[in-house]
Amino acid sequence: MATTALPSRGYLEDDTPTVWAWIKSWLFTVDHKRIAILYLLAINFYFLLGGLAASVVRIELITPQGDLLSSDLYNRAFTLHGIIMVFFFLIPGIPAVLGNFLIPLMVGARDMAFPRLNLFSWYLYMIGGIFALSAAVFGGVDTGWTFYTPFSSTYSNSNVILTIAGAFVMGFSSIATGVNFIVTTHTMRAPGLTWFRLPLFVWSSYATSLIIVLATPVVGITLLLVAIERIWGVGIFDPALGGDPLLFQHLFWFYSHPAVYIMILPGFGVISELISTFSRKRIFGYEFIAFSSMAIAIIGFLVWGHHMFVSGQSVYAGLVFSFITMLVAIPSAIKVFNWTATLYKGSISYRTPMLYALGFIGLFVIGGLTGIFLGVVAIDIHVTDTYFVVAHFHYVMVGGTIMAYLGGIHFWWPKMTGRMYNEVWGGISALIIFVGFNMTFFPQFVLGYLGMPRRYHVYPQEFQVLHVLSSAGSTVLAIGFIIPLVYLTLSLWKGKLAGDNPWDATGLEWTVSSPPPAHNFDEIPVVTTEAYAYPPEAAERDAAAWRPGSPL
């Protein structure tokens, strides 16, 4: 029955006598699973906030005139959307929620290598978030999430310092999480769990953590320099003070391009898990997927200049950055082909996480291919800083990262909460999100090639039809995001009990109870098989057992 109690001793349960003790047991927890839940709540709050800002922007753009908002308010709305989504949702999203919850379970450990550092990183995240929020409350910030100088350092009259402080503190939270993942993966693997037996989610989280640890300090220092110039007038970026405005862009993109891979790589890991489980077979080309993650992490450090093709950098720099950008497309393509090949001769089921995974592949292919357009300098000159770029990175960030995040949340929801969500609503909302997403962002490719610049509050009449289409799509998309919020929350009370392994998946996390006990494993497991050790006849047996009326 749906209302039966969960198995006892789960990490969610406590024998705390008072409410205060219960609150304390959460706020001072060092359990990686509880920290993941704390992150889940905070990150979803920021996602809704960022989504609200996006809605305001889309509503304003229905008409070519600026009739809903003043220019200043509009600029603050898209800046808020960008900063919240990038720094407080996309970058921490999958690592902090799914990574925190799963990595110790997947490697067969009782917790992270540094549990207290893990909790500290959540507090840093919250402090950073409070800075950014207070900046919004006290009048907002209007620099765009990119903080280009000398606008941000000298000319903007908004709360630049508070916002920078938020992003700066948040950066340390990322670094702490990254260090924790790296050390945990190196030192805490269960006996017999060799590197090539690791689930691909661990591989991609490891690659992500390397980028986080190497790149985040650069953006921290850069933002600090902006603050120093702004407060004390030290000439670093503003030529009027003797600085160099392009220096900021080099430093900023040296982090912010790898940051794109911080956002998407964990998504690749999630998708690998989902495709394998719901095809009931070993992932195709395991080593190629694992190494392509590492290749992306490394090459991703050498392409930052492709954000600056029209900034005034030399022709030679443009050519070199364009060339390396072309190369980074290859490992991404390898992944897509291997996922597709995994479907061959599998026994595929259309459960909600699988729908998200398939949607991810479709959208990521479009996002990736349009990335090649932008990597060709001659085309980039025309479409950079237009809606073409906006559409491209939303296909990668929303179509990629958010689809993977939602797919992962659905997949591991039974493990995290012990209960199943409503499969029918799950499928419906996945389809609504897919349709709404394409309606919102596909017209923006056309807008961009027509020449509609981004960050425009008012625009020429001829772009209106496509803007209206895009805004209509965003309404559908918003509905698609709200539905899971409702049925996932309801499932906490009404959901069917999940059992230890509802998907019949491989992986150490499915060998423990749902929700897992506080210390994960009674006995540290000894691993003798690779990840995705589905027997060769698993797919055949699964298909043979299917009867009309079984789940699709």
Partner: protein, 351 residues
Amino acid sequence: MPDFPLFPEQASTFAGPIDALYGVLIALSLIFGGILPFIILYLMVRYHRSQKADRRNQPEGSLPLELTWTIIPLVLVLGVFFWGAFLYIDIRTPPERNLEIYVIGKQWMWHAQHPNGKRENNELHVPINQPVKLVMTSQDVIHSFYIPAFRVKQDVLPGRYTTMWFEATQTGEYHLFCAEYCGTEHSRMVGRVVAMSLADYERWLTTPGEIILPDGSAGAGGGGSTLIPSIGDPMALAGAQLFTNLGCVGCHRDDGAGIGPSMVGLYGVETRMQDGSLVTADENYLRESILNPGAKIVAGYANVMPSYDGQLSEDQLNQLIAYIKSLSDSESASTRLSNAQIASVVADELK
């Protein structure tokens, strides 16, 4: 549905080649992005758990297959890269002979000055079938000069010059956008580019229009003065006067006998510096040498020039640079005014 285009107008020599490359990229994308989803859909249906299918002998990986789908995309993207690279080099290499127009961006307007001194705001008049080179700088934050119909865009930075060139092919009016976010009124930092026949352009150049002051403000100040033609001094002549008035001419003598190097034939030439490096004397070098003379010292000269930082407007800097460039223009060498001639003209006026 009126006014619902899918592709922008083609109005410059770049538009055709860029659209062709764009079309090829779309075609390649359709091969990958169009076929792959159908393969996925086919596999999804064929191997759905409810379907009877042969699921024995599952492959776990295949090196030949991995190599195939690594090498084919690699060859394709490299092909696209080289195509795009040659086009890019074209876009960044202006022809020797071109019409130079100086552009200043500021929050939130564009200001342009033509060689004969005519100024305009938020509009750019250009002749068709004629290479036009824009020499651009900003007075405050970073802007970006973008003409979608010409497929050209270039960021405009404070404290240095960036250049861009194009050759319009169709007469007409086109959008001019600021493409780099620059603050409150960013979306109103727009205007129009008017492409006209050469004859019309020359007529326009010599037609008095609305008066535009050097700081870019239009028709300000005294009521009666609006009748004064807005055609100012030709930029090079204005620069020559500045060159004399500021005292530059005392050291930078044409015959090269002064304390500073001669400006004749300097522009665009590689010059040896004190530290042995070679520097091409482009707009940015000239600008730096005026505002921060100690940054690069020409071999054989001493670091004695005072800085002119803060004493010159962007506009005056443009004029000075236009003058120095005119000293390298072999075409006009015969008609060029020498420093001495200008000095005497100014001296006459002072009497």
